[in-house]
Each structure stands twice: as structure tokens, then as C-alpha cells.
Amino acid sequence: MIKPVNDTFQTALVAAIPNLRAFAISLCGNVQTANDLVQETMLKAWANRHRFEEGSNFKAWLFTILRNSYFSDFRRGKREVRDEDGVAAASLSSLPEQPGHMDMIDFQRSLAKLSEDQKEALILVGAEGFSYEEAAEICNCAVGTIKSRVNRARARLVELMGVGSVEDFGPERVARAVHSKTS
């Protein structure tokens, strides 16, 4: 009877790998570190598979394991990588011909400048599509905390990336818009 349960578990685990990798790359900004992080998550999930409660959110459970591993082991010390340019090149070089590739690199560079808390909340809610409640559970914090982190992350990205877009509106309108915000 054990085998079919394990097969189901393994199938669900495999299905979650692309999302776990995307989350890991977004978090640590380095593909090799992210791959290590995902493999560690898979090992931990497998070792603790009997502790997963049937009927609860499997993907959220996996994401919780991954982010806890990241914050406890990976972020500090030996595995940390802070090469923002290398980051972009490493994870996005697989599709260099894709239109908008440079935008993507710019975007990743800006993302890397967010605080860990803000980045995590933004990715979980804005990219992965978790609800605020699910994200709060994954990050082990209050729902209101997640909401404010997401808002601050978005505002910071506007600061970091908004300039190019703002120019599209013409100098006069920008001046007026900026004026209206500061007055």
C-alpha cells in the first residue's frame, strides 16, 4: 500500500519542480545555488513526506520548505552569491534571442535590489499567484505584513525601473505628475 502513495507524492513533487526552481532563482539570483536549494528541498520533502497533511496545499508546503532552507542555510555564508550581472547572464542566457531579453535582464537586476522580505512576498503573490493568506503562511508572518511588503516591493520597483517608462509620457507631463506627488 505504501508504494502508490509514494508514486503520487513523487508525481506531485516532479510537477512542482519548475515553480520551485523559478522561486529559488528569483530569491537567490543564481542558478547554481537555486538548483542546490531545490534539490535540498526535494530531499527534505521526501524525508518528511509522511508529515504532509492530506488535503492541504502541497505546493505551499514545498515552498515553505524551500524558503526556510534558503533563509536558514543558503542566504548566509558559503553559498551566497552577490554578482548581480552574473545573475542575469546565468539564468536568462538560455534564450538570448528572445525579444525583450534585455528588459528581462534589467528586470532581474532591479529585483535583486529589493530586500529579501519584499522580494519573497512579491514573487509569491505577484508571480506565483499565492493568495496573501497562503503567502503569509509560507513566510510565517501576518497577512498585513505580506500586503505591505508587496506594496513596498512594487513601489521600489517603480523607483528602480520607472524612469524609462515615465519618459514615454513626455517631460511636461512627468514634471506635472512628479509635482503633484511631492506637493
Partner: protein
């Protein structure tokens, strides 16, 4: 007529600008993430799973 053409609507212009930038950033976030999700799974991940499976069989 756009909001910024009208006198006294500077606040509206600011909000519209912000919304447009926000929408653009949301779009970039989504396509950035989608590209990562669509990357092929490295082979050693599948090797790891096969190893776990064999361990289980060996018990």
C-alpha cells in the same frame, strides 16, 4: 482629452502614470517568472528522484 490636459487634474495624472508603470512592472514580473518556470528541468533532478525511488524499493 487626457487627464493631464485639464487644469486642476494633476493628481489624476500622477495616479494614471503610476498605474501605467505598475501595470508594466506587473507584466515584466509575470514574463520574467514565466520564462524561469518554462526552463527545462536539469537532468540531475530526475536522477535524484530516481535515486530516492530506488532507496525506497531497497527497504
Amino acid at each position: 482629452m487626457t487627464a493631464s490636459d485639464a487644469d486642476g487634474l494633476d493628481d489624476t495624472a500622477g495616479v494614471l502614470l503610476d498605474e501605467r508603470v505598475q501595470a508594466q512592472i506587473g507584466q515584466q514580473l509575470t514574463s520574467f517568472y514565466r520564462e524561469l518556470v518554462n526552463q527545462p528541468i536539469p537532468q540531475n533532478f530526475m536522477d535524484l528522484l530516481a535515486r530516492l525511488d530506488r532507496q525506497e524499493d531497497g527497504k
